[in-house]
């Protein structure tokens, strides 16, 4: 007898429309609407900025922007999936830095850079598994566990390097290629990013494995009552997010040619903001990789625009924060109207 059920009562009893069509509508439509909205905002920013600054639409600037969001975008993918399952990870920045530091230290001690990278990514995965253990087996909250790991991982970075960046001048070109190279005119970083995004977007929408992530985040108890092992799902999404941080860390290392123990401070806020602007909910159950990436692109275009317009760095955080607040407010009202 609420507004909702009345609305349902007024709907035509059955539609004969194509099955797949049916699935994409309503539920999909809300997300699609958001994604279209984000694309329009990004386009509007592009047009406005191309008038405001002659440098904006240059190849150099586009490339710089793409490089900026591509690597962080990989972390955003992991965060989005974790958010959908109902978790959150504050440690992404320090785990990314830790991947660099571990790989960097191993390399400086004579380990082959590829093997060193593999070990670093495995270490990050193990950190994610540790968080997953504390969340699902011990029963602590993601927020607290990842806060602790954020501090511990950062501490390990500083401990391993004495707080100084590690210069990795001897890195072979073949390795640096993943961070600095290009195939034709397209940076390798961007290719890796696109592959990761397309793969996870597809898996999230279409595979049974990731559908369970949605069920778990939407209503953990109903998921358990559908025979889904929700703890396993949360363990995996937590681990996956840290593993993707590890991959991002290695790409950063290849790009910078160094390992920076203080890299990624505050990254978690940017990453969570991007995912949320793109439609992920902190209460789990909703979100898309595509939307989250649009959120990342939006934040990155805004940063780049502000820099080109000579806006003080200090203002940038204020503006980014305001965009986040605005986006979730609009979202909140749209949700209210829908439901």
């Amino acid at each position: 007898m609420t507004k909702r059920s009345l609305a349902a009562a007024e709907l035509p009893p059955q539609t004969q429309g194509g099955a797949a069509n049916g699935l994409l509508s309503t539920a999909g439509r809300a997300l699609r609407m958001r994604e279209t909205g984000l694309v329009l905002i990004i386009l509007a920013l592009f047009i406005a900025m191309s008038f405001a600054s002659p440098y904006f639409l240059t190849w150099t600037n586009m490339r710089a922007m793409a490089m900026a969001f591509a690597v962080e975008g990989i972390v955003v993918v992991g965060m989005t999936i974790l958010l959908i399952s109902g978790g959150i990870d504050l440690s992404v920045g320090s785990v990314t830095a830790l991947a660099m530091v571990i790989a960097g230290l191993l390399f400086l001690n004579g380990v082959d850079p590829w093997i060193a990278s593999g070990i670093a990514i495995a270490a990050c995965t193990a950190i994610g598994a540790t968080m997953g253990f504390f969340v699902t087996r011990v029963g602590l909250h993601h927020f607290i566990v990842s806060l602790a790991i954020m501090v511990i991982a950062r501490g390990l970075c500083l401990l391993g390097t004495g707080g100084r960046p590690l210069g990795l001048y001897e890195l072979p070109n073949s390795f640096k290629f993943i961070g600095q190279g290009a195939i034709g005119v397209v940076p390798v970083v961007l290719i890796i990013f696109v592959v990761v995004v397309v793969a996870f977007d597809f898996m999230l929408r279409r595979t049974t494995m990731f559908r369970k992530v949605f069920y778990t985040g939407s209503n953990p108890k109903a998921a358990a009552y559908s025979g889904i092992q929700t703890k396993q799902v949360v363990f995996l999404t937590t681990t996956l997010c840290s593993a993707l941080c590890g991959i991002a860390g290695i790409i950063y290392m290849a790009r910078f040619g160094s390992a920076q123990p203080t890299f990624g401070i505050g990254m978690e806020l940017n990453v969570i903001a991007a995912a949320v602007i793109g439609g992920a909910s902190l209460s789990g159950g909703t979100g898309t990789v595509f939307g989250a990436i649009l959120g990342t692109i939006l934040l990155s275009v805004v940063s780049s625009s502000l820099a080109l317009l000579d806006v003080s760095v200090y203002w940038q955080d204020i503006i980014r924060g305001s965009i986040l607040l605005g986006a979730v407010t609009i979202d909140h009202y749209l949700n209210k109207r829908r439901g």
Binding site: A8, G22, N219, A222
Partner: protein, 509 residues
């Protein structure tokens, strides 16, 4: 109430209209509440009952129409104002703070409007004790979390009573209560009415109207249909007014004697869980609907969840068609063909923000996916449409979120989810809670249809008329044990209540 009947009614509503966008929830309804009467408001989901109550409580503002309280025209702008006017509302969903005491909950509103700097807990407790005395035995210093649902409901009523209310609205208060608890509530209601309180009682249940109310008003599709004195009408007439057509049989026909089969579908032997139930043995025969009755907390749900390995450390044997099952977790049970429909549809039955199709496929993703685990959305939608058609599910679009459906249709989605795996045995915990009369009858028919197709059906219900109307056999559970079995002529409310509350320790094998 007879002498005062000619007086000005305590609450009179005339021509109330309320629309939500294009949807007209109330199309000019009238309603009249007399002093000291218990007045039932009946109607299916979507009839406009809750909308009207929300208008009376000041949560919603009407588009037009009049509300008169004690002959005075009033505009109720907020729930706070409704309280000041003496309107108390006990919502269907309990809204108490679980981690503070009963007394603090009762005086939440008073604390909110108080000017005092410090809390006077002693005085508060004393006053709470006084009010609670009218309602039963509840300790004002107890934490709300420690109370049973029925006690919490009484706290909600106490909360309304502290506000010196003249009109008390109870929205389906017995939905979560057992028969016995409901009885206590009705006694209290009669006592309060005798003291001059006027009560609006919203319900779906005919028995409650006819046992406890003075008059009944029926709404349908946002329109006022009729008001009748309970003494002068019949349940059939009220139900017909609610659904707008004659419902011949509230319950589907039971299994015929000659169709009885000795074939056992499911057999449970010596099922024990250390704290909640012990030595449960039962046999479910082909074609029958088996009921589980008992007071809330007796262990009915726990036993069924134990059989399905949904919770607890369970020992004992479960045999399906003679085969012993090795079950470690619920996933195994689903694979074997045992499924459980949870009693709390919104809390743990459905994924409300997800599409109907995704809800239906939650148990059976593998059936709509390729071997590599890629979901075929076309097949997923087709499965939901097929099961939806079988259950007569009303929806606009298979992709719409489950939250947009009415209670009865949500329940059908939950049942469709169970049916998607072609279960051998289906356990349903309170399958018609919060569902309107029409959908309820449909769900009962679905259950009978399943039983006729040789699916084992086990129903848990706190509504005895439902158990008696639907089941061929009912087992009574008390304190974690099966204490009796009733069939045919033996199957009466009195007998079941007796077994459930006192019991005669006649053990059933």
């Amino acid at each position: 109430m007879s002498a005062d009947a000619a007086e000005i009614p305590i609450l009179k509503i005339t021509g109330l209209v309320k629309s939500f966008g294009p949807i007209r929830a109330l199309r000019g309804v009238d309603f009249e509440l007399r002093r000291g009467e218990i007045h039932a408001l009946a109607g299916e989901n979507g009839a406009g009952k809750s909308t009207l109550m929300n208008v009376i409580d000041g949560i919603l503002q009407p588009d037009s129409g009049e509300i008169a309280l004690d002959g005075q025209r009033v505009t109720i702008k907020s729930p706070a104002m409704a309280q000041k006017l003496g309107i108390g509302f006990v919502h269907q969903e309990i809204a108490l703070c679980p981690d503070v005491t009963v007394a603090e909950n009762i005086f939440m509103a008073a604390t909110n409007s108080s000017r005092a700097l410090l809390m006077n807990y002693a005085a508060q407790r004393a006053r709470a004790a006084e009010i609670l005395k009218r309602l039963g035995n509840i300790n004002p210093a107890a934490m709300v979390r420690s109370l049973s649902i029925s006690q919490q409901q009484l706290v909600e009523i106490a909360k309304a009573l502290t506000l010196d209310c003249r009109v008390l609205i109870l929205d389906e208060p017995t939905a979560a209560l057992t028969e016995r608890e409901a009885k206590v509530l009705f006694e209290i209601m009669h006592k309060l009415a005798a003291q001059g309180l006027s009560i609006i009682y919203i319900t779906h249940r005919m028995a409650e109207i006819f046992d406890n109310c003075d008059r009944v008003t029926v709404f349908r599709d946002g329109q006022y249909i009729t008001t009748m004195a309970v003494a002068e009408t019949t349940p059939g007439a009220v139900v017909s007014a609610m659904v707008g057509r004659v419902i011949d049989d509230l319950y589907p026909p039971k299994q015929r004697q000659e169709d009885r089969s000795d074939e056992i579908i499911l057999e449970v032997r010596g099922l024990t869980e250390a704290r909640r139930f012990r030595d449960i043995s039962l046999a479910l025969r082909k074609g029958e609907i088996l009921g589980l009755a008992g007071l809330i907390g007796a262990g009915r749900s726990e036993i069924v969840k134990g059989i399905c390995r949904l919770e607890g450390e369970v020992s004992g044997e479960v045999r399906l068609m003679g085969q012993a099952l090795a079950l470690n977790h619920y996933g195994d049970s689903i694979a074997a063909g045992l499924v459980y429909l949870s009693e709390d549809r919104k809390g743990d039955g459905l994924f409300l923000d997800m599409s109907i199709a995704s809800n239906v496929s939650a148990l059976s993703l593998r059936q709509v996916a390729s071997a590599a685990g890629i979901i075929d959305e076309g097949r997923e939608a087709a499965q939901a449409q097929r099961l939806g058609a079988r259950l007569n599910l009303k929806y606009g679009d298979i992709g719409q979120p489950a939250s947009s459906l009415s209670g009865g249709n949500q329940q059908k989605v939950a049942i469709a989810k169970m049916l998607s795996v072609n279960p051998k045995v289906i356990f349903l915990d309170e399958p018609t809670r919060g569902v309107d009369v029409g959908a309820k009858a449909e769900i009962h028919r679905i259950l009978r249809d399943l039983a006729n197709r040789a699916v084992g059906v086990v129903v848990i219900s706190s509504e005895l008329p439902e158990l008696i109307g639907v089941c061929d056999r009912v087992l009574v559970v008390r304190e974690g044990r099966i204490v009796g079995e009733v069939t045919e002529n033996d199957m009466t409310e009195d007998r079941i209540i007796y077994l459930a509350s006192v019991g005669n320790d006649q053990q059933v094998a």
